[in-house]
């Protein structure tokens, strides 16, 4: 009983008294979530613009004089790093993790609100350090988002003087921020669930975020040490990753280091990172599909175990990014097998999403459209992953546009579609307003069809052998003229999709002020965040009494129940009383 008295005691919350305390130095998980999301989306817009600049160069080479080979590589590097780390990771964990974990578990806040606040502000510092690299002499690093040494810290790569230093510093700072947030999420999930909220009653969203956070806590340290070691190589002249080499005709003092060691460290972080992004998306989309199909997620226990198994296996597949890196080629047998084994639990997740729709009552609202779009793009991106995981098939395809097409489908487009769906889904709870449906649909259709027009042809350019990270293809005998036409079409599609995001921003901002007032539970959802006494939820979330959970998160269309959903905090008796 001890935990209930503490949890129900709202005096411990220290309600903020000033505007600054409420909205700037806020310790409220909901405000921190919005701070994280706003920053992540803002920096994501920068990365989106960078991608369109890259596409301009690829589609129309020799047209835009300001895009030089150096700036192309810089755009590419910053686009990749921002999207993967500073947008996707920060938005899914710092944004959705912060907003959803306490609300879905029936907690008043994160267990360490001060550390949570600190996490956001340190993340903001990381973003500012990263963006500062646009303004230093030499500009940001152009080493590719993988930052492979020796190239990353040698002359011949743009941003070698300051850009790479700021990039490594920013990553280290980001990891500090992530660790503070991540420890909070894990502790909150394990310690702050309300009465009755057993682990196997948690919504899939929380499961995805929870396991992804654990993965992050295990994987980010590898990136941290890699960043520190490379920083030492660059600044102090150590040789962790630097063998003896000749740079631009000049002998250097480096000696004895291993470039492949960096690749192992990077991908030991980098592959789990794919799942750090994917698992929250898997979890969230499960809840969107279940809610809008008015049907329980099919095979909930299997879905939870699949998340756990995928998370665990993802720590054993990193070298599938390195089949042609020059590492011992015999590793290929192990990593190809472990990689393809992951496909099994991942396929189960896809089956169960489909089986959730089967015999459902599918409301094709905007969040559901995005969820269905996700299923399509994820099936596509997941299957093309089998080509690249299947070691010998990877050999001709690695470092080509096939890889670009694959990872954008699977970890770019797919999580982004889930994020859009999730924003539309929870917007009424967050703001208390409804968005405009027509604008939401326009946004969905242009984005969904547009991304397929962008990425499908890229796979085929990759089959042909068109290499990635090329500023210009020039005249190459095996690349026909039609491939250049494809690049033009892709660029036009990318510009349209990029511009279409303005519809989204317009809708979100307009609706915040002018949208119709939202009901506290407009979708008829079962999970706790929709059962708060106020919408948007007030500080402390639950008023004087915490909710008590009596059932799992998926009691949709229960036979005999008066409505087609039963919230988690409805006790068993009233349901049967109503039914009889």
């Amino acid at each position: 009983m001890a935990y209930t008295t503490i949890a129900d005691d709202t005096r411990a919350l220290h309600h903020p008294k000033t505007w600054v305390g409420k909205y700037v130095w806020s310790q409220d998980h909901k405000v921190i979530a919005l701070q994280y999301s706003g920053t992540a989306i803002a920096v994501g817009v920068v990365a989106l613009v960078l991608s369109d600049l890259m596409r301009l160069q690829l589609g129309f080479p020799d047209t835009f004089k300001f895009i030089t080979p150096s700036s192309y590589l810089q755009f590419m590097t910053m686009h990749g790093m921002i999207m993967v780390i500073y947008l996707l990771t920060a938005l899914l964990l710092g944004g959705f993790g912060n907003y959803l974990i306490p609300l879905m578990l029936g907690a008043r806040d994160m267990v360490f609100p001060f550390v949570n606040m600190l996490s956001y502000w340190v993340y903001l510092v990381a973003v500012l350090v990263l963006l500062a690299s646009f303004f230093v002499p030499g500009g940001p690093t152009g080493a590719g988002w993988t930052l492979y040494p020796p190239q990353a810290i040698l002359p011949g790569t743009p941003g070698r003087d300051w850009g790479i230093i700021l990039m490594l510093a920013s990553l280290a700072i980001f990891i500090v921020a992530f660790t503070m947030g991540g420890l909070n999420y894990v502790t909150t999930v394990l310690q702050a669930r309300t009465r009755g909220m057993t682990l196997m009653r948690m919504p899939c969203s929380v499961w995805g975020i929870f396991v992804a956070t654990i993965l992050g806590l295990l994987a980010f340290p590898a990136l941290f040490v890699a960043a520190v070691m490379m920083m030492l190589d660059r600044v102090v002249g150590t040789s962790f990753f630097m063998p003896s080499l000749v740079s631009m005709g000049q002998q250097t003092n480096f000696n004895g280091g291993s470039p492949i060691l960096f690749q192992h460290l990077f991908w030991f972080f980098g592959h789990p990172e794919v799942y750090i992004v994917a698992l929250p998306a898997f979890g969230i989309v499960s809840d969107l599909i279940s809610c809008h199909a008015r049907k329980n997620i099919f095979g909930y226990r299997m879905m939870v175990w699949a998340i756990i198994v995928i998370g665990a296996l993802s720590l054993f597949v990193w070298a599938h990014h390195m089949y042609v890196s020059g590492m011992n080629p015999y590793f290929g047998f192990f990593f190809a097998t472990s990689t393809l084994v992951i496909a099994v639990p991942t396929a189960i997740k896809v089956y169960n999403w489909l089986l959730t729709l089967w015999r459902g009552d599918i409301h094709l609202r905007v969040p559901m459209l995005f969820a269905i779009g996700f299923i399509f793009t994820f099936i596509h991106g997941g299957l093309t992953g089998l080509f690249l995981g299947n070691v010998s098939v990877d050999v001709p395809l690695s470092d080509t546009f096939f890889v670009v097409g694959h990872f954008h489908m699977v970890m770019g487009v797919s999580p982004i579609l889930v994020i859009f769906g999730a924003i539309y889904h929870w917007y009424p709870k967050i703001t208390g307003r409804m968005w405009n449906t027509t604008l939401g649909q326009i946004h969905f259709w242009i984005t969904f069809l547009g991304v397929y027009a962008i990425y499908l042809p890229m796979h085929y350019l990759g089959f042909l052998g068109v290499p990635r990270r090329y500023y210009a293809l020039g005249e190459t005998a095996f690349i026909p003229h039609s491939a250049h036409v494809a690049n033009e079409v892709i660029t036009v599609a990318a510009l349209i999709v990029g511009a279409a995001q303005l519809v989204f921003f317009y809708n979100m901002i307009w609706s915040y002020f002018k949208g119709p007032k939202a009901d506290g539970n407009p979708w008829g959802a079962t999970t706790l965040e929709w059962q708060t006494p106020q919408t948007p939820p007030a500080h402390g979330n639950w008023g004087p009494k915490l909710p008590v959970v009596y059932r799992w998160a998926y009691d949709y269309s229960v036979p005999g129940a008066p409505q087609d959903f039963v919230p988690q905090n409805v006790p068993p008796e009233p349901v049967t009383a109503h039914a009889t």
């Binding site: 599918i362 094709l364 949709y556």
Partner: protein
């Protein structure tokens, strides 16, 4: 409803794209039929799942879209169904993994009779080395790399003196014989990529990497660098010319050996060259 039609249309579009695409693997010009086979098998298995899953998706949306009075079934799970799906997925995965691993076994097993040549990368050009009459590549050390000794060969190593050095970015290779490409970089990562031969491998400074292939058709093929190597990455091109054996031998005999190049360089600056090439190597090793 529109989304179901869109999904179905995208699947049909993808199939049509696959059948009609002007962009597909370049014609195979090496022994790596097994890689193409593994790719084809992967394409068939993945294509089947792509069509089947999306067809089910579209069908579900059409059949169970919301209509007035319609209510979803309550259907928590089916252990039997999930177990069956798991098994069949595992079978599909094994079916495409098997040819992949078989091809990989071949990939890591260099034939004993393979001829050897070395490709050397630097920002942003290629050069090449053949082992000469003794069939052995002489030892190299990156500390010995200098304008007079661009390959960093050890002048005291007898195996290196007959090595044949090709400083242009064009290399000739004989047709019909397994060739082991030994790869070395002077500065940063590069990657030896000729799409028509399918196999490729990174060049890594500080270590020697390799892969092998058998050219099956004479002709001229472009070598692209496929690992980002700095601002000139996209310009790092070379050419691989596959000749019949006699033409290849004739070409090779015209290329200078290390000993010849040393002799040419020696009269100009004998003392300086010896000093630069000789002494640092000893101190390093």
């Amino acid at each position: 409803m529109a989304i179901a039609i869109a999904i179905a249309a995208l699947v049909l579009f993808s199939i049509a794209f696959q059948l009609l695409t002007p962009w597909w693997l370049t014609p195979l010009e090496s022994n790596w039929r097994s890689i193409d086979t593994a790719l084809d098998v992967t394409m068939w298995v993945c294509g089947f799942f792509f069509v089947a899953l999306n067809a089910f998706l579209a069908l579900s949306i059409i059949r169970y879209r919301h209509r007035r009075g319609h209510r979803a079934h309550y259907d928590p799970e089916s252990v039997t169904l999930e177990r069956r799906l798991t098994v069949w997925t595992a079978v599909g995965i094994a079916a495409l993994l098997a040819p992949g691993l078989i091809a990989w076994k071949e990939f890591v097993t260099v034939p004993k009779d393979a001829a050897v040549f070395e490709a050397v990368g630097q920002q942003w050009q290629w050069s090449f080395r053949f082992p000469g009459k003794d069939g052995v590549l002489g030892t190299v050390n990156s500390r010995q790399i200098s304008p007079d000794n661009p390959f960093g060969l050890d002048p005291d190593d007898p195996y290196g003196r007959d090595d044949i050095l090709v400083e242009g970015s064009e290399v000739h290779l004989p047709r019909g014989r397994p060739i082991k490409a030994v790869l070395r970089s002077k500065d940063v990562l590069h990657d030896f990529f000729v799409p028509q031969i399918r196999s490729k491998m990174d060049l890594v400074p500080g270590t020697v990497t390799y892969f092998w292939f058998t050219p099956t058709r004479t002709g001229r093929f472009e070598i692209l660098c496929a690992e980002l190597c700095g601002v000139g990455h996209y310009t790092m091109r070379g050419a691989m010319v596959v000749d019949e054996k006699p033409a290849f031998d004739a070409w090779l005999s015209q290329q200078p050996t290390f000993a010849q190049l040393m002799a040419e360089a020696a009269p100009a600056a004998p003392a300086a060259a010896a000093g630069r090439n000789g002494s640092p190597a000893k101190s390093v090793n």
